[in-house]
Amino acid sequence: MALAAVQRVIFKVADNVGKIGSLALDVTTAGGDDPITNFAAFYALFNAISNGIIVGQIGQTADNAATGTAAAAAYDIRDKLAVEYVGSQNDHHTIEIGDPDPAIFATNSELVDPTNTAWLALKTAIQGNVKDKLGNAVRVIRAYRQRSRNLKSSQRFV
């Protein structure tokens, strides 16, 4: 497991009139990848020193080990592979994957090559691992090239 050095848990705390505050702690990764479960002993300790009650918790875990290699391309991260899929309630979603390899698109087309091996592997990975909000599997509809402007580095100011 290549988890980051710490995981974070954010607790939402309410007082006796319902106002909400929060506190966050960085927990060690010794107990595994679920920081909320790892913090199970925290509630009683918190209740002993606070009049507030914990009403919600958010856990965050990260893996900072890089995967892949950035390669020079005619386009950049603003060039997108837009993948559309539907959930179990016919809810429609689109994810955008930056800097797609031009090889996955059909010749002279903005649509993916339906026989491309890497695309088929991505489609299988999405349908096997992505869920809708009911926890059900999703179904990929189509994918195509798109362009956005959402740069998040210093280049956006150039």
Binding site: M1, L3, D15, N16, K19, G21, L25, D26, V27, T28, G32, D33, A41, F42, Y43, A44, L45, F46, A48, I49, S50, N51, I53, I54, G56, Q57, I58, G59, T61, D63, N64, A65, A66, T67, G68, A70, A71, I77, R78, L81, E96, I97, G98, D99, A118, A121, L122, A125, I126, G128, N129, V130, K131, D132, K133, L134, G135, L151, S153, Q155
Partner: protein, 154 residues
């Protein structure tokens, strides 16, 4: 009711250093960003892009497992805070706030946390044993005091 899903965020970085995120929902149990569903998606995404993926994150949420009735009395509003100061082993400083602190944890007649209070000891010892600084530093409790902040979210 436990969450039916977890949120996975896969960061991508192109040759020029520009970054973008791909955010999807995965199964609630798929919390390990270095394995399982998130790693499978990350591998498949990296295979169709010229970018590398420097980081993957997962996030989840749950209801509470603690007390169910908030205490009353003076200084029990969410804006009332006890600030607990911890020192990292590299002499960095971390302040953790406790909303609506109970009066019993303060030294009588002062706004200073009583470090010998049994509940304070249990709390600070647990934090020292189970939490880390932002870069993995070991933490040691230093002191605590009462404060108040303007934060109201009904």
């Amino acid at each position: 009711m436990a969450s039916l899903w977890a949120r996975a965020s896969i960061l991508l970085q192109d040759y020029a250093g520009n970054i973008a995120k791909v955010v999807v929902l995965v199964a609630a149990a798929a919390l390990d960003p270095s394995g399982g569903a998130v790693a499978a998606l990350r591998t498949a995404i990296v295979a169709v892009t010229k970018a590398l993926s420097p980081r993957a994150e997962t996030g989840t949420q749950a209801g509470a497992a603690g007390g169910t009735t908030a205490g009353t009395g003076a200084y029990s509003a969410i804006e009332d805070r006890a600030v607990l100061t911890f020192r990292g082993d590299d002499n960095s400083t971390y302040n953790y706030e406790v909303p609506a602190p109970k009066p019993a944890i303060f030294i009588t007649g002062t706004d200073t946390i009583d470090p010998a209070n049994a509940d304070v000891l249990a709390y600070t010892n647990w934090i020292a044993a189970n939490t880390k600084g932002s870069f993995g530093q070991t933490l040691t409790f230093v002191r605590g005091e009462r404060t108040r902040k303007k934060q109201m979210k009904h």
